[in-house]
Symmetry: D2
Subunit: 331 residues, 4 copies
């Protein structure tokens, strides 16, 4: 039997779920003080540590918004999922997987060491910085704007509007992220890059600086949950094979070097970013008790106070709670 | 639409599926020559490199047996799933996860290096040798036989018979596996072990030497697919939370340092052993096209020719083919 | 001009030097409290943290004894120099250097990691534990006593008496040194060992448990300083080529992962042990100002309070002071 | 007795030594074909693989020139010794050693990995690229030319002329050395650098591109052999303490990750560069047989065919031969 279902009477309505989520957002917001906002990019330090917001969108139209859902934030590493998808759409999955592996590393996202230590022929996966920068070099286009145009077009189709670049964040990242430049030059020297390094890094910093809300993340998550198809329009925005590959990668590599724990404790494909965003994906699943509201849902979370792995500290706890109660795990 | 479904007319019967699997077993058996049987334990070298067999059991009673299904083999690393489950049942999940992490490593299964390099407080996960040996030290009991009794009892309930220990393999492993002794002494020195080292290693070598068939593996897989419940008897043999945790771990860490690729290309929880066995688990899933035969199925594969990661070379290809055609991926 | 020589009038006598050394032993003894006695072998914890003693023997007969020179202690890692020398005498230098490299590692003495990480064909050098254990496996003999007999005979020739084994320390090391067993099994598996592992480890633990005094160390040092020749008897106890090779190794690898700093700050071949002993060697050298007393001298130091690298904390400071004042550096 | 001295009658003259060296240069020149010229900087590939030349300068005026002594080449990593010396002269030894350690690493010269793996507070030593770049950042001056002016002045005093920068090599290094830029950005991010990164790298590339001959190297070596004093003019060009520290570092870290083997087999402080140059230093030493010609000598070698560690393959063999025959080892 579904855990926590004992709490639920037969009249589970969207309102009931909304109240339930509101209660737990309030509860976990108290725990934001245990984390810290990202500091490696100066401008990210300005985030409000107490923020916590969540949007859940079901493929049948359910919409739950709770907490700080109106605060825009930059997408950061969550963009790695999108550029990997766009790369696969442009070049094909095989081309991409010949150039970026899909193995979890056990290392921090910004590690250079394992590239050298293992004498790898390709970066470990597209969600560590080395892999994501390599993906940016593969994207079509001669300038960073050309490279990102298909990504913005995909976002526009998914979100219904074209999100903006936060220029302040972009400039802050571009001017301060020395580790990413170190990784970039390492990749250049080992011959991984397929474009000019500066254009590649510009592309990477720009994609990280796209501004979104939790509702945007939830929409993207819902489309991934439904194998690339927008459940409202029935349009296939992402090829089915690519969407499912992206979900597999999110499950094994999406939460930095806490991916294994997230898979074990939460059990859904997800990707986080250092600004405190998380996108989580709950594919349709056979359940003993039907919960049509939440089937095939996408979830966006925002909570800029991070744990020591770089994931939203309250966001992960909130997701873990809801995933357990609503039986979202894919396992 | 389900890939490959175009091949299938409306009359998909068990016979049809049986023929389909037979064809592909024949096809992939030709590729066993590209791999090599394990050599690190002398007795494993005696395996027949050309063997390839598969059993698929659906939760509705479907049974498909194809190829070399009658050849017994030792369970090897697949036992790590079972002892982890038994440990969780004896001590509780929290106790276990305080002592063994659940992160994929990016390292080979027999690596010592990462223990030292990362100054870990606990082994990376229960499916690398360091973690599995630690689990054996946690199991209740003062002797290796006492420690393994609950595991044998669980197997007896799942399989309907009590499998035997292959004494030759056990003695061969015990006498030749110097790397595991090195790991054991390392664990002892760092204080991870909760039992005497020799008894712990004896337990580990014994659990690896349990003799099974592909049908046995398929039964275990089917029970895991159904969250620990035997779909025939409706008995809960493994607590639901433990079964789902085990599946999450199989997905992220089950196929050695090829786990990420297996998740991306095949997409089901699985665990392999160096004798050439693989257990794969396909939880029930919402599908556009209903395929009731294969829903909630367990799969056992045996093919002793291994690839360079230590996984059955033909077995993985066969699984990948079937998973793609039958849409088994959990993503 | 020799540093510190300004302090010295023309009548530098042995008495003057004796007083000078006495003063500095008193001074540096106060700093023993900054270190800690070794704890990884239980019995070593019983050492008196305040002890500090030194013997300096010149090849012209000068003898300076100061501080706690009568306290016997076990030779520990300093024995690695002796067994390497004996191995070279038994098998020849080429045979030995084919099996053990002579590179400093930058790693701690008991590291396993670098063996795996670098996929080495041989251990990095004979003074890390992995290398020293390999050397013990190469020594002639079917038992540990047979293997060590030539080492004891060499010691007897050098010291004028046959030193004893401290059985308590030997048994304590044998029963507690799990990391060395881990290293041993790792070496066994990778095929480095040329004898049975247990006999090899017994040999290693026994050689570490030989009991000596600072005067013994100084004698060995003096013989090494004079390229293997006893300056009193004029007997060549160690072949010249072997003695010089040993000194080169002591300089680059003798002080664990502080060897580079010791070379830079002190500048003489030396080897330390975790019981707090250090042997230092000052080969004859052209000096602007003749200091015949100290030419070609050997130095033994004992101070069981160790720094974080495992070297005698006050012993290193005392050596550094004397080496600087007396211009002992070989550079 | 000095090895090889049996070959030498009582009338060893400079002519005799000249002929002896000529013979062995011819002999070892045949072995240049076993190595390869450096290729990581495009312009270095143009070197003539067959070149081999040597100059030996004794502090009594002996001058031996043999082989290709007139071919100019860029100093490359040998410059790391000079900039370290200049840094010590500008800031003091303590300031420098607080910022750069003096430990050998066991890693390749261009490794980034160990910086991350060991979480070091400072680079391992000034002769790996990470350390040398850090040293360049410490040098006084706001531009690369200002930073290098004292180095050029020191060279002018030592050589009697101001060596030139090879602009082609400088531009080639600046434009192609992506690994060094990767290291530079890594150092910048971890806060090691005391100057602007681009100016620091410019300084580094320029110092590597200074053009010298083997006679120049021999002069520098002779001055180091004599503790910083020019034996002709009796001027102290380098403070004694700094010269001796530099020699200690050359011995433990000068020949990349073959430094231990060079110390064991050759036994003199030395530093090599990827253009094929080696500088070797033989401090005065007490010898049984007086060899006044070679006492306190400096040696310059040039042979652009490199071994797999990046050292001149024939140059090392030639040095090893001469060091053994002439008993140059400091041990």
């Amino acid at each position: 039997m579904v855990q926590g279902a004992a709490n639920w009477n037969t009249e589970i309505t969207e309102d009931w779920l909304q109240n339930y989520v509101d209660d737990w957002v309030s509860f976990y917001r108290k725990q934001t003080s245990e984390g810290e906002v990202a500091s490696y990019i100066p401008i990210l330090k300005e985030a409000n540590q107490d923020h916590l917001g969540i949007t859940i969108l079901g493929n049948n139209g359910m919409t739950i918004n709770s907490g700080d859902v109106d605060v825009p934030f930059t997408i950061q590493s969550i963009s790695k999922v999108l550029s990997f998808i766009v790369g696969c759409m442009e070049r094909g999955v095989s081309y991409m997987l010949d150039r970026v592996d899909v193995e979890p590393t056990g290392e921090a996202f910004n590690s250079i060491m394992h590239l050298e230590m293992r004498q790898l022929k390709k970066p470990f996966n597209p969600f560590i910085n080395a892999g994501a920068i390599t993906v940016c070099s593969i994207l079509d286009g001669k300038t960073s704007d050309e490279k990102l145009e298909p990504l913005f077009e995909l976002l526009e189709k998914m979100l219904g509007y074209r999100p903006a670049l936060n220029v302040d964040v972009y400039e802050s990242e571009r001017d301060s992220s020395m580790r990413n430049r170190a990784i970039g030059y390492y990749l250049l020297e080992t011959g991984y890059l397929e474009s000019d390094l500066n254009i590649t890094l510009e592309t990477y910093f720009k994609q990280c600086s796209i501004e979104v809300t939790v509702e945007d993340l939830a929409k993207i998550g819902m489309i991934l949950a439904n194998d690339g198809e927008d459940p409202n329009s029935r349009d296939e925005l992402i090829p089915r094979q690519v969407a499912r590959l992206a979900k597999a990668l999110m499950l094994t590599c999406g939460m930095y070097d806490a991916s294994g724990k997230f898979a074990a404790y939460v059990g859904v494909p997800a990707k986080s970013g250092v600004s405190g965003g998380i996108i989580a994906v709950s594919p349709p699943r056979v359940r003993e008790e039907e919960l049509p509201f939440i089937d095939g849902c996408g979830i966006g979370v925002f909570g800029p106070a991070l744990d020591d792995k770089g994931n939203s500290i309250a966001g992960i706890k909130l997701l873990r709670h809801i995933a357990k109660q609503w039986d979202l795990s894919i396992f």
